[in-house]
Structures are given as structure tokens and as C-alpha cells.
């Protein structure tokens, strides 16, 4: 089965965070903006080049690059 990550969440869809694969300070940053286990995230729109994409996370719109969103497992 293909891994569901935040990156391949289609625009307009809402998912729940399962697991973070990021390490170090990036992991800490993602946690701090509210990407803890079970948190909801909605993919709102993407930039002209398709990356980064903007997500609704805990009430705020936050842009993430594919390098980060690929490391976030969702369901």
C-alpha cells in the first residue's frame, strides 16, 4: 500500500497526522506549529510550481515544502 503523506494529500482534503519522520530541529518546528499526532491538517492550495503547498494547521495557514510534507505520515 502506498504511504499516505501530507504531501500527496489532494487539495481540499482533510487528514489526521499519524507520524513524523522528520528529525532534529525540523521535527521540533513541525511539532511546535501544531503537527502533533492526531492533529487535523487540510491542504488548501499550492504554489504556481506545485511546491510548496499551503495547509490549514490548527487554524493557521502554513506553507510547507515537499521535503517536509513527505515526512509527515497521515491517514
Amino acid at each position: 500500500m502506498k504511504n499516505h503523506t501530507l504531501y500527496n494529500t489532494p487539495v481540499g482534503e482533510t487528514v489526521r497526522i499519524c507520524k513524523l519522520h522528520a528529525k532534529g530541529t525540523i521535527r521540533r518546528r513541525l511539532l511546535d506549529i501544531g503537527l502533533t499526532k492526531g492533529a487535523k491538517a487540510t491542504c488548501l492550495y499550492q504554489s504556481p510550481a506545485g511546491d510548496p503547498k499551503a495547509y490549514l494547521i490548527r487554524g493557521a495557514v502554513i506553507a510547507l515544502r515537499s521535503e517536509q510534507s513527505r515526512q509527515i505520515e497521515v491517514k
Binding site: I26, L30, Y45, Q46, S47, A49, L56, A60, V61
Partner: protein, 715 residues
């Protein structure tokens, strides 16, 4: 584009925790909060200062300070940079953490965004672990109301154990209650313990183990918080602790031993470093969720549809980039068109005044050797600077500030991030680049919003590839004189706009190119993580925008230009009139530079003007004109047409104009910018790179263009 006294002046190095009290009895209040929650607006409303505000995360990068009095006591308010948490990932978050922990503030106000309170509580709860002298200010209540979010501050206050005040700082609501709450907390001798997050049992046990070893530590630090930090100590906090406590806790055997045992205890229960961090943040968020459940009511869970529609349009695949370019063109067109008429008016008025001044001085028998340098040197350059610079700035700055207030700039960063990523740089560089349009020195300081030191350095070194406001008027003048002179009316302004836009896009292109080259050579590395908050659009406060951009930015920049131009005018006059061996000193210098300058398609005078313009780019063109006029016939300088005649008489062709434009875009940064680069990087080497990089690029481009034209077009 935080271009104010604060960002470019003496306090640009606000990394330090130097508090400027009016008297030793001052109450020090720290203003903390997530980025872009309106801290600066709260700060301004309380202190009456004009700390620059803008709708994008990370615009306050230093510690701004101000004072206010409340019932006879003076409060020193310190606006610290926005931070998502106190675990410090970036230079700004480090400042924020160090100030809350060790800054010695009497009260910490945590400003929260009412529209996403949950995430803001993360910072509140972390702050409460350090101190209970906290006031929580839930700002942007007006926005929350519009989004149908109801917040019960009483319940929130009960849950958090500290005063909670609801405010709408932009409308000035709730600020009086805030000052009351601050004074109450400041005056209280003993405060109830604030809300603490209770972590999982194993973590609590580990905290206790470390805490018992710290019992004898005499320091104004919350020991529970310190214990938790010691379990997972990052380097920056370790250094901060050492300098604050005067000793390295890790070097004390008893403490080191306790930490080791506590870590073993954690490890035995499956908590390695990663799991510990995750668990800590997860527990904080769990607590925050529980609090929000009690105190926050979402009546409408749908994300704002109108905002989403606009965002999808301005970041769309087909529409995002064109809208950006159209906006740029529109702003430039308005600037050029709007500046034409007042510019001509100003210059004719100021030059008429020059005649009166000359006549007046002569009439009251002031000796000519005294008034001529003053009038023909100092006054004339000043007149030039004012008439050429003021109108475009007075139009460009407010327009730009409007876009900034609206919240458009983060979208620019979002759109351009892919390009920056290809250059192995950070998308936030788009924000600092935009600041560079205002002032490169401010742009350089603004680079603090970039987390990765490597990407920050790249952004700092490439900032002056975009023309600052000091260079705009000169560019506009040359373009108008040499590239659109044959046309008139609307065609001319449209054509001038396109030329200017092309020049700016060239600058942006060079920014990408230079970033790319730097990241492949001096600063190798992969792009780091990128998280950028896209704030909701906010209706700009037109009146405030105009007042702020005119008084705070335009007049400040103009004032600096005038301060630099006055002595430069005098120097030029003296150089032009000091004869050595039958030739003026000016001519000697210009002759000396001439052979080299010719290689670049310039001439000796232009190159000398660039060198003398080192203190401020604004004065380069005026100096060149002064120099020409003092060597040639003095002409009435009432319009660009007559100026063009002077320049053509000095041998200017379209190639000279093109090379001057290129060199104006790419040459050494002004002295203020270089000082900022030195301050921000702390390295002479990098400052030298910052000096040489644009200079070499400019020289190379000019040389190539000139050679190409000479060889293929026979000019």
C-alpha cells in the same frame, strides 16, 4: 520592509538584552507572542511609538523598546521577536527565549492570536513554566468575531491561572484593561502558580530526579523548567545558561550525575531523545486542547471561503506569477507617472530659490568664497536630491506599505519559493528581497527571519541585487531621459515602466543566479526546512499607512540622503574649484578613473560619483551632474530635458546610460548596508564578499555589454 530608524539606525544590533529604563524603578514588561499576532500594534498602542507594523510573520527582528506610564509608574515595554515556541530554532526565537528566561522582565505579556488560540497556547504554556508573572493578551478579537470564534476569557484565565485580557489592538480596544492587568501582576508580591503541564509519569519522575540535584542553585530560574531543559539541553540554551549563571551546570558532578540517572530512567521506559521531545510537545498540545475545549467556541468550522478564493487566485498556476508581475508594473507605473509632475515642479521651485539665494547673499555682502560653495555646492545637490527623490518615494513607499499591510508579501514568498529552492536558498529570502526595495540595510537586518545560517548568509550577501529606494529615482531619471525621450504622454510612462520593470526583473534574476552560485561554491548545502505562515488578508488602515510611510520611511530616508548629500556637495564643489597644475582636482580624479571606467562603458566622472556615493546611493546621480556642470557650462537645471542635454554634451550615449543603469543596480552596497552586513554576519570575510560580489557582477556585465556593442554595432 521594516525601514525605520529602528531597523537601520543605531539599534540595529538589538541582539543584546540592553534595557533602556528611564529610572531604576521602571517596571520592565516583555511583549512575547507567536509571529504576526499584532505584538507591534499592541506595542505601538501602549507606547505611542511608531514601531513599524506589517502583515507578515517576522517583521520585528530586534528588541524594540518604549515607555508608558500608568497611575504614576513608568513601564518599559520590550517588543521581542515572534516565536512559536521557546525551544529556539532560529536566531529570533533564541532572542525571545533568552529574554523571557534571563531578561529580568517584571511581567511577561504573551500576545495571542484569537483566531488560532490553540497554537498560541503552546507558547503561553511554555512561558508559564518559566514564570507566573504573566498576562495573556488575546489579540485580534475583532478578526475572531468575524470568523465566528467565541472566546471566554474568564474561563481561559481560570484555566491558565493568570489574567487574560481580550484586545483588538488595531481598533484600540481592551488596551486599558491590559495596562491594568499588567500593573496588578507587576505589583503583586505573591502570585498563584500558573498552569503547569503535567507530563507523562516517567517524564515527571525524571524531572524530579534532576530537580532534587538543583536544590542549592541560587538563580532566578524556575527549577522545574530548568530540569526539563537539562534532560534535553540544546547548545544555544547551554551557552545562555553558562553566561547567565556564571557556571556550567553540566560540569557539576552532582547535577551531571542526576541528569545521567534521569536519562537512564527515561531510556528504560522507552523515551529516547526524540520520543521525549515528542511527548513533551504532545502533552503541551493536549493541555492546550483541553483548555480550548473549555474556553473557545467555534460557531463556524469552515475556513474563510473568500480568503481561500483570493489565495487560490494569487497563488494559482496560471495566475500567480502574472498577477505578481502586473502588480509590480502597476506600482512602478503609478510611481513614475505620479512623480513626473511634482518632480518638475519641485526642481524648478528649488532652482529658482537658488537664484534668489545667490542674489540675496551678494546683496548683503557675504564674500563669494563663502556663499558660492554653500549655494552652488551644498544647496544645489540638496535641491537635486529632494526634487528627484521625494516624489517617487512619497508614492512608492505608501503603495508598498499597502501591499505589506494587506498581507500580500508572504504570498510572494510562497510563489517564489520553488525558484529559491532550486537555488538552494530559502523562500523567505523573497521577503527580505522585498525589504531590499525599501532599503538594503533593512533587508540585511531582516534576514534574521531565515532559520538556516547558510541560507541567511546567502540572503544577506545577495540583498543589494535589488535596487533600494535610493537607487530608484536615479534609474527612473536615466530611463526617462535616454530610453523613452522620443515618446510622450501615456506611451512614455508605459514604456518607462516596462524598462524599469525589466531592470528590476534583471535584479531579481541576478539574485537567483548569485544565490545559486553562492550555494554551489562558498556555501554548499542542501535547502533546509521551510515553514512559512500565510497570514489572513487584513484590510489596510489607509490613513495609518500614509502617515507611517511618509513620515517614518520617506522622510527618514530623505533625511539620511540629505545628511549625506550636503557634505558630498561641498566636497564636489571644492574639488571642482581647486586647481592643481591648471586642472581642477575633480578633473584629475576623473581623468585618473577614466580609462578604466571607459572599459565599463562609463566615464571617469560617473565612476567617481559612484565612489563618492558610497555613504548613500541617492547622491550618485546628483554628484555626477554636479561634476559635469562644474566642468562645463552651468545650465539651468529645470527639467530632465536640459539635464539630458548636459549629459549628451558630455558624451553620453544610450550605451553610457545602459551601463550606468547596470552599474547602479550592481555595485558595492552603501556604507550603511555594509555595516549591517558586518554586524549580522560578524565576519570581515563575508563583508568583503558582500562588497565584491555585486561589484564584480556589475563590472563584468558592463564590460560585456560595452564590448558587445563595440564589436558588433561599432559604437
Amino acid at each position: 520592509m521594516g525601514l525605520t530608524n529602528n531597523s537601520t539606525g543605531s539599534s540595529a544590533n538589538a541582539f543584546d538584552l540592553d534595557i533602556k529604563k528611564t529610572s531604576p524603578n521602571d517596571v520592565v514588561v516583555a511583549l512575547a507572542g507567536n509571529p504576526n499576532v499584532g505584538k507591534s500594534t499592541v506595542f505601538n498602542s501602549l507606547t505611542g511609538l511608531k514601531q513599524h507594523t506589517g502583515n507578515w510573520p517576522g517583521k520585528t527582528v530586534g528588541n524594540a523598546q518604549g515607555h508608558y506610564t500608568y497611575s504614576g509608574k513608568t513601564y518599559t515595554l520590550v517588543d521581542i521577536p515572534g516565536a512559536y515556541s521557546l525551544s529556539a530554532h532560529s536566531a529570533e526565537e533564541e532572542i525571545a527565549r533568552d529574554f523571557i528566561c534571563f531578561g529580568g522582565s517584571d511581567v511577561t505579556v504573551v500576545v495571542c492570536d484569537a483566531t488560532c488560540l490553540l497554537r498560541n497556547l503552546n507558547l503561553v504554556l511554555q512561558t508559564l513554566e518559566i514564570t507566573n508573572k504573566v498576562v495573556v493578551c488575546v489579540n485580534l478579537m475583532d478578526e475572531a468575531k468575524r470568523k465566528k470564534i467565541e472566546i471566554n476569557c474568564k474561563k481561559l484565565s481560570k484555566e491558565l491561572g493568570v489574567p487574560v485580557v481580550a484586545t483588538s489592538a488595531r481598533e484600540g480596544k481592551g488596551l486599558k484593561i491590559l495596562t491594568e492587568a499588567i500593573s496588578r501582576v507587576a505589583a503583586a508580591n505573591a502570585l498563584p502558580k500558573g498552569c503547569w503541564v503535567v507530563y507523562q509519569p516517567e517524564i515527571e519522575e525524571a524531572i524530579d530526579m534532576v530537580m532534587s540535584s538543583l536544590k542549592n542553585l541560587k538563580a532566578h530560574i524556575n527549577l522545574r523548567w530548568l530540569s526539563l531543559q537539562l534532560l534535553d539541553l540544546d547548545e544555544s540554551l547551554r551557552h545562555a545558561l553558562i553566561s547567565h549563571l556564571g557556571q556550567d551546570l553540566m560540569a557539576i558532578p552532582k547535577i551531571a550525575d542526576a541528569i545521567k540517572k534521569a536519562k537512564e530512567h527515561l531510556a528504560a521506559n522507552g523515551f529516547d531523545e526524540v520520543r521525549l521531545r515528542d511527548a513533551v510537545v504532545a502533552d503541551i498540545y493536549k493541555k492546550a486542547e483541553a483548555i480550548c475545549k473549555e474556553a473557545v467556541l467555534y460557531l463556524d468550522t469552515e475556513y474563510n471561503r473568500r480568503q481561500l478564493k483570493i489565495d487560490r487566485l494569487v497563488t494559482g498556476k496560471a495566475t500567480g506569477i502574472p498577477i505578481m508581475i502586473l502588480l509590480l508594473l502597476f506600482v512602478l507605473w503609478l510611481t513614475i507617472t505620479g512623480a513626473n509632475y511634482p518632480s518638475a515642479l519641485l526642481s524648478s521651485a528649488l532652482f529658482k530659490l537658488q537664484d534668489y539665494l545667490l542674489a540675496g547673499f551678494a546683496a548683503v555682502d557675504v564674500p563669494a568664497w563663502l556663499y558660492e560653495p554653500l549655494v552652488l555646492g551644498v544647496y544645489r545637490v540638496l535641491a537635486w536630491v529632494v526634487s528627484v527623490m521625494l516624489p517617487p518615494m512619497a508614492i512608492f513607499f505608501p503603495l508598498f506599505t499597502l501591499l505589506e499591510d494587506l498581507g500580500y508579501l508572504p504570498r510572494v514568498a510562497f510563489n517564489l519559493d520553488a525558484c529559491f529552492k532550486k537555488c538552494h536558498a530559502c523562500g523567505k529570502q523573497a521577503l527580505t528581497m522585498c525589504m531590499g526595495f525599501g532599503c538594503n540595510a533593512a533587508g540585511v537586518v531582516g534576514c534574521r527571519i531565515i532559520d538556516s545560517p547558510r541560507e541567511r548568509t546567502i540572503a544577506i550577501l545577495t540583498n543589494c541585487f535589488v535596487p533600494c529606494n535610493g537607487r530608484f529615482p536615479g534609474l527612473i531619471a536615466i530611463i526617462t531621459m535616454f530610453f523613452v525621450a522620443k515618446t510622450t504622454g501615456i506611451v512614455a510612462t508605459v514604456w518607462a515602466t516596462l524598462c524599469l520593470a525589466f531592470v528590476i526583473l534583471l535584479g531579481i534574476g541576478m539574485t537567483f543566479f548569485a544565490s545559486f552560485v553562492l550555494s554551489k561554491t562558498l556555501f554548499k548545502g542542501i535547502p533546509s526546512a521551510f515553514t512559512l505562515e500565510l497570514p489572513p488578508y487584513r484590510r489596510p488602515q489607509i490613513g495609518k499607512v500614509i502617515v507611517r510611510s511618509v513620515f517614518d520611511r520617506t522622510l527618514f530616508v530623505l533625511g539620511r540622503a540629505v545628511a549625506m548629500a550636503a557634505p558630498a556637495g561641498l566636497v564636489i564643489y571644492v574639488m571642482a574649484n581647486l586647481q592643481i597644475g591648471g586642472l581642477s582636482l575633480l578633473a584629475h580624479c576623473a581623468d585618473f578613473l577614466d580609462p578604466f571606467a571607459r572599459l565599463l562603458g562609463l566615464d571617469g566622472v560617473i565612476l567617481m560619483a559612484f565612489i563618492l556615493g558610497f555613504p548613500a546611493n541617492e547622491i550618485v546621480i546628483p554628484i555626477a551632474v554636479m561634476a559635469y556642470m562644474s566642468t562645463g557650462v552651468i545650465t539651468e537645471m529645470e527639467s530632465l530635458n536640459s539635464l539630458q542635454m548636459v549629459l549628451r554634451a558630455q558624451g553620453w550615449t544610450w550605451l553610457t546610460a545602459a551601463c550606468t543603469i547596470i552599474f547602479s543596480m550592481f555595485h558595492w552596497p552603501c556604507s550603511t548596508t555594509l555595516i549591517s552586513i558586518k554586524k549580522e554576519t560578524g565576519s570581515f570575510f563575508l563583508t568583503a564578499v558582500g562588497f565584491l560580489l555585486p561589484t564584480l557582477v556589475g563590472m563584468l556585465l558592463c564590460f560585456l555589454l560595452r564590448s558587445f556593442v563595440h564589436i558588433f554595432m561599432g559604437l
